[in-house]
Amino acid sequence: MSLTPEQVRRVAHLARIEVSDAEAETTLGHLNGIFTLIEAMQAVDTQGVEPMAHAQDLAQRLRDDRVTEENRRDAFQAVAPETEAGLYLVPKVIE
């Protein structure tokens, strides 16, 4: 299979990545090259094979529902682009 420019635009929008018209052709070429590589999978009969999410097949470990971390809001917000009174600032969303 190969991707269409329309599909690339849609996926790029979903991923919040802009692909300029100048980059579109190279991007499409690269992605189609990679998908050709990936297509090798489709010929394999995997009926009845359980998907493997990770190596040890462990269930997620649960922890007790108690506070274990101290509040370090100031330290974490010190690296934010814009904050005010302990809140992260972003462009206005609700009019």
């Binding site: 919040r16 990545i17 991007t27 090259g33 297509e39 090798a40 359980e50 493997m52 190596a55 690296v79």
Partner: protein
């Protein structure tokens, strides 16, 4: 002094032949002289390193020294270290001074080790040449016109050029083993779940694993002893008793069964591997026979599917992991934007490099509605087939051997315009991550003056055995002790 192993430096510190402050300064001076050309480090902070070294010397004076106390180490810039710029090789984290320590850093700090600096890497560990770094490519100390491999290319170049006695790396598809092979180092990717991923910036969470890179198996064992261990902050960390990974280093190899996958050595796959690399790998296996090992042919029939499976699973997980970079809570925010959505898009578009964007796009596509079953689930089923192949193979052997990389270090720029060619440089390493097994690369000789790596793959939790197999070879050969010219 700088040619000494971690074990020997530890001894020198113990007998007060040198202090940690002096030793750290020695490396800082070398970094100052050589790093402008090699570009192995993104961040060096002499003040911070020396202050850690002073604490280490105090720790020793107080009688509390451990094996790594006072040893300066290079940390891959994927590990968050409090107060240190932690970029992951990306513009989007170009201003991120971490407010916390990764568990690996925490453990090294507790052991009294010194952070020499943060090493260059492919952006978000996505690459096999270190050329995708926002902070520029790293040069291979063996030939400055060639790549050091990737993604832990800065760590590899730093250790190879004696800009650090050892370093950390991370390995999602070969990112410890391949640069180790290309820079004449010993590198170990542990069993998935042995080293905590907390504070190790995520690329593909089900594959990522941190590990040591050093000039010998013995040094890797010393580092792994500090790095490995259960961590409740990592939900996939394995709760197992603490091990001494150096315990079996000297065990004789008589009776060791080495599995040689016919897919690595057979004629069809062989065409993918350069003949001079294959020749050195076969010579290394002959050396193992001399050491008392026997060889048996094994088969990994689904090996050829590992590239396809990996390039679905890893980008899928990456697209999810990297959705957190949105210009809101940390990292780069675009200077101009119209609304919130535009701020996300502009920050990400300007903050990520082309390879990262490609993988995010692939991952977003394979996870999108209508394609999930055909790609992601199919890739996970094939992953099971690949893992099952290893289970079968390990019924017949103790360790699997083959090449680490199909070629020696390639030229800077040689593969950077063709992602598929770049991806194929990891054909021998990807399956190990998919299966979650431990793997190593050890130096096994030189082809046209460039280092070559022998890959060792072990069964789950066989790190101590792998280190033993590597160490005995390094007692019998001196490939690993060779240093590039022009760095002293």
């Amino acid at each position: 002094m700088i040619k000494r192993s971690v074990a020997a430096l530890s001894q020198a510190l113990a007998v007060r032949e040198i202090s940690s402050v002096e030793l750290t300064q020695l490396y800082l001076d070398r970094i100052k002289n050589l790093n402008p050309e090699i570009n192995a480090y993104i961040t060096v902070d002499a003040g911070k390193s020396l202050s850690q070294a002073r604490s280490a010397d105090d720790m020793r004076a107080a009688g509390n020294a451990k094996p790594l106390t006072g040893i300066p180490l290079a940390q891959k810039d994927i590990f968050c270290a409090q107060g240190w710029l932690t970029t992951c090789g990306s513009k989007i984290l170009g201003n991120f001074v971490s407010p916390y320590d990764a568990t690996v850093i925490d453990r090294f700090n507790a052991a009294g080790a010194v952070i020499l600096g943060k090493t260059n890497m492919d952006e978000f560990a996505m690459g096999s040449s270190n050329e995708t770094s926002y902070f520029g490519p790293v040069k291979n100390p063996w030939d400055m016109t060639r790549v050091p491999g990737g993604s832990s290319g800065g760590s590899a170049a730093a250790v190879a050029a004696l800009l650090a006695p050892a370093a950390t790396g991370t390995d999602t598809g070969g990112s410890i083993r391949q640069p180790a092979a290309l820079c004449n180092l010993t590198g170990l990717k542990p069993t998935y779940g042995v080293v905590s991923r907390y504070g190790m910036i995520a690329y593909a969470s089900s594959l990522d694993q941190g590990g040591p890179m050093a000039r010998s198996a013995e040094d890797c064992a010393v580092l792994l002893n500090a790095m490995a261990g259960f961590d409740e902050r990592d939900s996939t960390s394995l709760d197992r008793p603490q091990e001494d990974y150096a315990r079996d280093l000297d065990k004789p190899l008589a009776g060791l069964r080495i599995g040689l996958p016919k897919e690595f050595f057979g004629s069809s796959e062989r065409s993918g591997c350069s003949p001079d690399v294959m020749q050195l790998v076969e010579a290394a296996i002959a050396e193992y026979r001399k050491l008392g090992a026997e060889t048996v042919e094994v088969s990994l029939p689904n090996m050829n599917l590992s590239v396809a499976s990996y390039y679905v699973i890893a980008p899928a997980e990456a697209s999810s992991n990297l959705s957190r970079f949105d210009g809101v809570r940390y990292g780069y925010r675009a200077a101009e934007y119209s609304d919130l959505d535009d701020m996300y898009a502009k920050s990400r578009t300007q903050g990520f490099g082309p390879e990262v964007k490609r993988r995010i796009l692939i991952g977003t596509y394979v996870l999108s509605h209508g394609y999930y079953d055909a790609y992601y689930l199919q890739a996970q089923r094939i992953r099971r087939l690949i893992a099952n192949d290893f289970v079968e193979a390990f019924k017949q052997c103790d360790v699997i051997m083959g090449p680490t990389s199909p070629s020696t270090a390639f030229k800077l720029g040689e593969k950077s315009s063709d992602p598929v060619q770049m991806y194929l440089s990891d054909i021998y390493t990807l399956a190990v991550n998919l299966a979650g097994l431990p793997g190593m690369s050890i130096p096994c000789g030189f082809a046209a003056g460039l280092p070559t790596g022998l890959q060792l793959i072990g069964n789950y939790f066989s790190e101590a055995r792998l280190l033993n197999v590597a160490h005995r070879y390094q007692q019998a050969t001196d490939w690993h002790a060779q240093l590039p010219s022009g760095i002293l």
